[in-house]
């Protein structure tokens, strides 16, 4: 990288050697950070330096680095993914920071997301919630013609808006109650707006909420902090969809 301003940052990073090891915030100076780097590339540079000095590099989750996989997960200065609207940490660029700025980097904090190492948390709780009901039961057979099932544009749009969820868990990390309602609601709303998923909508809402409660997530208090940090900008409207579906199916099952 030849163009762009270079800056120096003062990092405060959560370091924890293992799931049961004690952790603490540790200070690092990040030198030679180009303003065009992504936040994860900045951490790559820091880790390169740490490797040279023999220190263990900072562990963090990442995969696609283009904002679509939901792997990167860090709370930057108190906001999951750093608070730049509609982006994941991997798509957050260093030009949004000032030279010499202090940056606090922490893992998602929730009982249901235990820290594995440094900034990496175990988000299997989400997988178990999906396994409990986040699917559509389809008997195998000949694939129907794509246009044989008419779906109103409005329903398709609502399903698609909810389906944008990448399951990163920023909603849980931001919520004062560490509630997973936006995640679960996105899945329930997504599937219940399609004819294939509508059939099991009630059972799905109940089994997924039962699993969500069992995993130890908090309850929803409508702070809307989840919506504010969601990299896919999913509206709390889906939570109302879930509440309606859940209440209806709990009383009319």
């Amino acid at each position: 990288m030849t163009t762009g301003k270079t800056m120096t940052l003062k990092l405060h990073v959560w370091r924890q050697a293992g799931p049961n090891a004690p952790g603490k915030m540790t200070d690092y100076v990040a030198n030679n950070v180009n303003e065009h780097m992504s936040f994860l590339e900045m951490l790559d540079v820091v880790n390169e330096e740490l490797t040279k000095t023999g220190e263990e590099p900072i562990a963090f989750d990442h995969d696609c680095r283009e904002g679509i996989c939901g792997a990167c997960s860090m709370v930057i200065n108190g906001i999951p993914h750093g608070g730049h609207k509609g982006v994941t940490a991997c798509q957050l660029h260093m030009r949004h920071f000032q030279d010499g700025q202090d940056i606090y980097i922490e893992p998602w904090r929730a009982k249901a997301f235990p820290v594995i190492r440094d900034l990496v948390t175990n988000r299997s709780a989400f997988d178990r919630i999906i396994a409990s009901g986040g699917y559509v039961s389809v008997n195998t057979g000949g694939a129907p013609d794509a246009n044989a099932l008419p779906i109103p544009k409005k329903d398709a749009d609502q399903a698609f808006d909810a389906a944008a969820c990448i399951g990163c868990g920023a909603c849980v990390a931001a919520c004062k109650n560490a509630s997973a309602m936006l995640f679960v609601a996105a899945k329930v709303s997504h599937l219940s707006h399609t004819p294939q998923g509508k059939v099991e909508a009630g059972d799905r809402a109940r089994t997924m909420i039962a699993q969500m409660d069992a995993e130890g997530f908090g309850t929803c208090s409508n702070y809307s902090q989840c919506e504010a940090v969601c990299p896919k900008e999913i509206s709390v409207k889906v939570i109302a969809d879930l509440n309606r579906e859940y209440i209806k199916s709990s009383l009319l099952k």
């Binding site: 709370v75 904090r109 929730a110 009982k111 089994t207 997530f217 109302a240 509440n243 209440i247």
Partner: protein, 246 residues
């Protein structure tokens, strides 16, 4: 029963509706439904209470006559009292339960304070609610049980009914600035509790519309602070001498 042993989907449920309601109340979403439903109930009582209080502007005869008639209708009074005696413990109980749940859900706090957006009033619902509940007990001790301020309570006969001179009791009570200021502070606290509460009720029972949910949020401000203004006007009118003893 399903013929397919591997099919994990629930079979036909024959649990009675009352049992289903109880089971729902014990889930995370159900606890919030309890909060919303009892909240609506308490809010309706709050509105009728304000309507009664505003009769103070119609003068001592109208207000005392209303009070005497209300007390001469014990059925109505006790239905309301029993409903509130059920609603308040459920509302407060759900609040404490879900708050403990939320605390347990985040055992390790963030080093850097969470700065994601939220209405400050929404994050302090438990505190504002408990303070208002404390105020209500103090308010009952004053105007209903007469544990203090009993010197201002005088028995009268109005419309052939025995009652207390409510008008006189309220005016003499609010002529003491400390009592008036505590009342005003409690109303403001309650208003900001309701700003989040009124919107939240809709969300918890699944009422959401792209066109009207923003209007509900704005209406919550108008309703919450509007009702508080109605209540607050009474101690202010007494303090400024607009409402006084005849």
């Amino acid at each position: 029963m399903s013929s397919n042993a591997s099919d994990a989907r629930p079979v036909q449920d024959t649990t009675p509706l009352l049992m289903q309601t109880w089971q729902l109340m014990n889930t995370s979403i159900g606890a919030k439904v309890v909060m919303a439903v009892t909240g609506v109930g308490i809010w309706f009582w709050f509105l009728t209470h304000m309507a009664g209080n505003l009769m103070i502007y119609a003068g001592p005869e109208v207000m005392n006559s209303y009070a005497a008639k209300l007390h001469a209708t014990p059925a109505l009074l006790w239905v309301a009292r029993i409903a509130l005696l059920i609603a308040f413990p459920l509302h407060i109980g759900s609040a404490i339960r879900t708050n403990l749940h939320a605390k347990a859900a985040r055992p390790v706090a963030y080093a850097y304070e969470n700065r994601s957006q939220a209405n400050p009033g929404s994050k302090t619902m438990l505190i504002s609610g408990l303070l208002v509940a404390t105020f209500i007990l103090y308010h009952l001790a004053h105007f209903t049980w007469h544990w203090f301020g009993a010197d201002n309570v005088r028995t009268i006969t109005i419309d052939g009914l025995q009652g207390i001179d409510t008008y006189r009791m309220v005016v003499l009570g609010f002529q003491q600035p400390v009592i008036a200021l505590i009342y005003i502070a409690a109303q403001i606290l309650l208003a900001q509790h309701l700003v989040h509460g009124l919107y939240s009720m809709c969300q918890h029972v699944g009422l959401w519309g792209a066109s009207w949910t923003p209007a509900v949020k704005r209406a919550a401000y108008v309703l919450a602070y509007g009702v508080a203004a109605g209540f607050i006007s009474i101690p202010l009118s007494v303090m400024f001498g607009l409402v006084k003893l005849p």
